[in-house]
């Protein structure tokens, strides 16, 4: 049998599926960061929110204008514009995260079919539980968006937000376990025979913590863009305060995430087990990831002070781009680690077989058409915003 390290090049099919997997996973991760990071933020911001007075609750949630809590950014019970935005956009972000998640779910089935399916089957009911858990979180996110939520007693609001955040953490934990179990071939038989539902490994917690921290680094950057888009209709002081808070959260979470990365096995890729063509990729990811991390931190610090002005766009854009590059580097390292851990040489013929099936042209054509049509929808929505 040919060892993975003996392959000097990868088939074009493997490249295509790998690139599409990482690209679509990145898009999914961005939306997921909004959902998970936002869920955690909302839960902790509850502690800082005062209970509503009877008069404040009146009228909330009764008219159509109250369906979108963030339209005015602040509400009587919630002066935090971040909180209002997150509550308002959470259902859409969940929908987008789920939809975006379909594509990497498709490509992973081509790249690592047997391992992915086996991990699904081994985790069994525990794995399937992510569906009802997500349904519960989704509906609760709609509850959180309503005016009725604002009128609830504090402990009810805390309970709902805790469930929402808990549901998303459960899904993240399940995916982390699924990934690690799919790589741990030696444990499969015993895991099955013992009918285990929980995969125990020293790697699970640091990995999960690292990803959660990374979502808390990304979410504030996304919310900052949303706030920036609304800067002309919002109070200057509230936005400046929110900007500072978001930058602090992002910076601290990014540093924690980077530190936690060292406690996972993601960066420790055994390059000798990689196909020859990928062996140089490991140091490249270290370099790119390191520089991106530094730039993301500097950009965040630079945009920490002041309000949302045009001048602040540069550091904002810098930190966002650098953060994206850092996430890409981590995702690529994670993939290199997986490629080194499995018998990748045995998988490439399956990729070539899959590539022989037709339909790629149709996919490309409709991708183009649908991107344009989605752009039309966004344009129409923007027009509505101006009215």
């Amino acid at each position: 049998m040919l060892a993975s390290s003996d392959i000097t090049s990868l088939p074009m099919a493997t490249w295509v599926y790998l690139v599409l997997y990482i690209l679509t996973l990145f898009v999914h991760f961005v939306f997921m960061a909004y959902v998970l990071g936002g869920g955690v933020y909302l839960l902790f911001s509850m502690a800082r929110t005062s209970a509503p007075s009877p008069s404040q609750g009146e009228g909330q949630g009764k008219g159509p204008d109250h369906e979108h809590a963030a339209e005015s950014l602040t509400t009587p019970t919630n002066a935090d514009p971040i909180n209002a935005l997150l509550r308002d956009w959470m259902p859409f972000a969940i929908s987008a995260a789920i939809t975006a998640g379909v594509a990497p779910l498709l490509f992973i089935q081509i790249l690592y079919q047997h391992r992915f399916y086996t991990a699904n089957l081994l985790l069994s009911h525990r794995w399937m539980a992510i569906v009802p858990v997500l349904i519960a979180a989704f509906y609760l996110a709609y509850v959180v968006k309503t005016g009725r939520f604002e009128r609830m007693q504090r402990h009810w609001r805390a309970a709902i937000l805790a469930i929402v955040a808990g549901c998303f953490l459960f899904v993240a934990w399940s995916w982390t376990e699924n990934h690690l179990l799919s790589l741990d071939r030696a444990r499969w038989e015993s895991f099955y025979v013992e009918s285990r539902w929980v995969y125990r490994s020293f790697e699970v917690l640091p990995r999960l913590a690292m990803w959660v921290a990374l979502t808390l680094a990304i979410m504030p950057q996304l919310v900052r863009w949303q706030l920036w888009a609304k800067r002309e209709r919002s109070a200057h002081d509230a936005l400046s305060q929110a900007n500072r808070r978001l930058n602090v959260i992002s910076l601290v979470a990014l540093i924690i995430s980077a530190a936690l990365l060292a406690f996972t096995n993601i960066p420790y890729v055994d390059a000798t087990k990689l196909p020859g063509v990928l062996q140089d990729w490991v140091p490249t990811q270290y370099t790119v990831g390191g520089i991106a991390l530094l730039l993301a931190c500097l950009g965040t610090v630079a945009s920490m002070r002041g309000s949302f002005t045009t001048a602040k766009l540069r550091p904002n854009a810098l930190s966002m781009l650098a953060l994206s590059a850092y996430v890409f580097a981590v995702l690529k390292l994670r993939e290199l680690h997986r490629i080194a851990a499995v018998d990748f040489a045995a998988l490439t013929p399956q990729h070539e077989t899959a590539a022989q099936s037709g339909g790629v042209i149709v996919f490309l054509i409709f991708t183009l058409i649908n991107v344009v049509l989605a752009g039309v929808c966004i344009r129409i929505a923007r027009r509505a915003l101006k009215t």
């Binding site: 079919q113 399937m128 996919f363 039309v376 509505a384």
Partner: protein, 471 residues
């Protein structure tokens, strides 16, 4: 032989078909609601724009909220659940489907994205938009939703009627298979029907509008029920293009299939007649209870129809390519030689509960070959189905499985595995009837081997078609 084994989970006392069927029926119903809902809203937007119904716009905004809450959440997530459930039930089946049709699925995904963008744009900003913009958004949403049906329909219908794919192995020869068009048109009409019935129900909950207004809205919504008149023709077209044996199951060959087909037809007929006579011709107003009942009938028809669609594929999950137990026809001969357990690395769960190795072996054979459609003593339980058979009968009937029942796959193992399975089923039915050491009896094994050889490795349905059956 390249055979990748997977760990097998059981859902006793339910069968796996109930699990995937339950999720599938809910998902199909919700997805069809979303698709039909798009067209219904487009129709109501047109009514509003042209002034044909002054309440259309108000209804539309409320209806869309229902659609978003039901379809965007439950519909989307049960779709993901379908993928995960299929992996749980038959990873090899979904593996083949993904390998062959991933670009089709990826294309469908681009339409999902458009559906979400158009849908949420309308949900958030629809009330502030002019009629033209609303019409554009709803049009894009409808097109995207319908195209998601278009793509998935090709994959699902391919499972039953792979058409030219069996020889050509190209995506399009499988995608545009013989049952593609009747399925697509039938499902489109079903989608319109469900959307219309949901609309009738939603209209009854509208506040601030009088009965006359509600009736006019319901009468307009009922127009989407009119295409139901084409359903009988489409049903005949569908039956005409499916394989002979599949058609024979629903036309009396299988009591369960015929019964469910009858239920689907009866429920559809009731809805159709009520729609044509009550809603379209005499323009009746229907209250919430009646609307809910009609919707429940539609759900029943969908459930029965999906049961039939899944059931008539027997014994395959992918016609002529993969049996229900995830064994390919071309693998049977090798598994008869080497034994099916030679490719299964997973030990038995609760092995200590079984007294000896023969029973453990039988349990493993059961797990690999039978558990996808049967339980031991629960739903479709083998101890019930074989309980009255003598040991001798069991040996022959299992060895010649595709002759015993043509919708069963051929047994894919060696003589010792047949005997182990026979003894396991006998023991599970009545521990006292268990005969030890028969697995080492050369006389028993040679007789089983003779039956296995007699049966051959061809599918039972092929034997029936060729008139080689022993019935």
């Amino acid at each position: 032989m390249e055979f990748q084994a997977f760990p097998v989970n059981e859902f006793d006392p339910a069968i796996k078909g109930m699990v995937i069927g339950g999720v599938g029926i809910v998902h199909v119903f919700l997805a069809q609601f979303a698709i039909g809902g798009g067209f219904l809203m487009l129709f109501f937007q047109w009514l509003a724009t042209t002034g044909r119904n002054p309440h259309a716009r108000r209804f539309l905004d409320g209806y869309f909220k229902v659609l978003v809450l039901v379809s965007f959440v439950l519909g989307a997530l049960t779709g993901v659940a379908m993928w995960f459930t299929t992996i749980q039930i038959s990873p090899r089946t979904i593996g083949v489907m993904v390998t062959e049709y991933h670009w089709i699925w990826a294309t469908e995904w681009t339409f999902f994205c458009l559906e979400v963008v158009a849908g949420y744009a309308f949900y958030r900003y629809g009330k502030r938009l002019d009629d033209k913009s609303r019409f554009t958004l709803l049009g894009l949403y409808s097109i995207a939703a319908w195209f998601s049906l278009f793509w998935i329909n090709g994959i699902l219908s391919w499972q039953l009627t792979p058409g030219g794919w069996t020889t050509e192995r190209t995506v399009w020869s499988g995608f545009f298979n013989p049952s593609f068009w009747p399925s697509l048109i039938f499902r489109t009409i079903t989608a319109l029907t469900i959307a219309s019935l949901v609309a009738c129900l939603v209209i009854t909950t509208m506040k601030g509008v009088d009965r006359a207004a509600r009736r006019s809205l319901q009468n307009h919504a009922a127009w989407l029920l009119a295409p139901m008149t084409l359903m009988p023709l489409l049903g005949i077209w569908f039956l005409a293009v499916i394989p002979d044996d599949s058609r024979s199951w629903v036309l009396g060959g299988s009591a369960a299939m015929t019964l469910f087909m009858g239920l689907a037809l009866s429920a559809s007929l009731l809805i159709g007649l009520y729609a044509l006579i009550g809603l379209i011709r005499t323009r009746l107003f229907i209250n919430g209870a009646t609307a809910a009942l009609l919707l429940a009938l539609a759900f029943g028809a969908t459930a029965a129809g999906e049961f039939v669609r899944e059931g008539v594929r027997k014994p395959f999950t992918i016609r002529e390519y993969l049996y229900s137990n995830s064994i390919r026809p071309d693998e049977i001969a090798t598994l008869r030689e080497d034994g099916c357990l030679s490719v299964d690395p997973y030990p038995l769960r609760n092995a200590d509960a079984l007294p000896d190795d023969t029973l453990r072996m039988g349990a493993q054979v059961y797990r690999m070959q039978c558990s996808v459609c049967h339980t031991v003593a629960g739903v479709n339980g083998l101890t019930h189905l074989t309980g009255t058979w003598s040991v001798e009968q069991k040996r022959m009937n299992i060895a010649k499985l595709q002759h015993t029942k043509p919708f069963m796959p051929p047994f894919a193992g060696n003589a010792a595995e047949v005997e182990a399975l026979v003894q396991y089923l006998s023991w599970a039915h009545d521990a006292d009837s268990y005969q030890t050491d028969t697995i080492n009896n050369p006389v028993v094994l040679s007789e089983i081997q003779r039956w296995l050889d007699d049966a051959g490795t061809e599918a039972g349905i092929a034997l029936v078609s060729a008139g080689k059956g022993e019935h």
